[in-house]
């Protein structure tokens, strides 16, 4: 590659790393349709590398929640935001780094490991607040640092099925 989508400006690169590991890098605008394209491209790349269905479902959901949070909360009301994803493929897990240049993540969001409260009554069911819960449930070794003007979120996605050796 690199491959670039001319409609939404998604750039994808696969980089060979030492010890038979591969890194996928993708840079895209923090806008809903570009996030969609980035997810489709990333998942296509991971499936080509032998990722199984269950792992693909989990990975796509985690990525979607992380990217949507950035589009909505790091770059509120802005159309010039950029997201960078680096995915390091190891045999049984993905090491993910997501970088953006938006507003810092409030500490309380990262602690959001509980489901939003609900008393089971339809009228009071929560319509939001599921994002961080899903991210925390489906990832491990989550860390967040503010580096200069950038947010850097690191986490791992454990895979149930080993991916093809490179």
């Amino acid at each position: 590659m690199p491959a670039e989508s001319h409609t939404t400006g998604v750039t994808l690169r696969a980089v060979a790393r030492p010890n038979g590991r591969r890194e996928l890098r993708i840079i895209f605008p923090a806008l809903p349709m570009a996030v969609r394209d980035a997810l489709v491209s990333t998942l296509g790349g991971l499936r080509d590398m032998g990722m199984g269905d269950d792992d693909a479902i989990q990975t796509e959901l985690v990525m979607a929640e992380v990217f949507n949070n950035i589009a909505e909360h790091a770059y509120p009301g802005r159309e010039d935001g950029i997201i960078e994803l680096r995915l390091l493929q190891e045999s049984d897990r993905l090491t993910c780094t997501v970088i953006d240049g938006g507003q810092p993540i409030p500490g309380s969001d990262l602690l959001g490991i509980d489901l939003p409260p609900s008393d089971g009554c339809i009228a009071s069911l929560p319509e939001g607040g599921f994002g961080w819960y899903l991210i925390r449930t489906l990832t491990s070794e989550m860390s967040y640092t503010r580096e200069g003007q950038k947010n850097v979120l690191r986490f791992k996605v454990d895979l149930t099925r080993r991916m093809r050796a490179v």
């Binding site: 269905d53 479902i57 929640e65 949507n68 589009a71 009228a123 069911l125 319509e127 899903l134």
Partner: protein, 118 residues
């Protein structure tokens, strides 16, 4: 947002003709349901058979749709793909919503009722 509807006096089937119900279309989806809500029958079945991916925004929109329809109409879900059912299971929303594997059988309107309706 492409939706297709099919109705009988008691049931409205809303088929989502999108392969993703996500942050990019969540608001449009909720708006479309709001338009249908005022004269919806008792039972509304949301057929998600075409939807291959749903995120928390899509989940929020489905819950929002259920709240817009209640208490007059009850929203049920049908034909959820594995990626979609996973979101409902992880968030425990599968305990709150009625979820059908297949589109439930909707009895045709009996002939005598049709005559009465005229």
């Amino acid at each position: 947002m492409r939706l297709e509807t099919e109705s009988t006096p008691q049931t409205l089937v809303v088929r989502v003709l999108e392969d993703r119900l996500d942050a990019a279309v969540a608001v449009q989806f909720k708006d479309a349901i709001r338009d249908l809500a005022c004269d919806a029958p008792d039972r509304v079945i949301l057929d998600l058979g075409e939807v291959m991916f749903l995120d928390s925004s899509g989940l929020g929109a489905v819950i929002g749709a259920m709240k817009l329809l209640a208490p007059r109409s009850q929203l049920e879900l049908a034909r959820l793909n594995p990626a979609v059912i996973k979101v409902f299971t992880l968030t425990h929303m599968d305990r709150v919503l009625t979820i059908h594997t297949d589109l439930p059988f909707i009895p045709p309107v009996p002939v005598e009722d049709r005559l009465h309706a005229r």
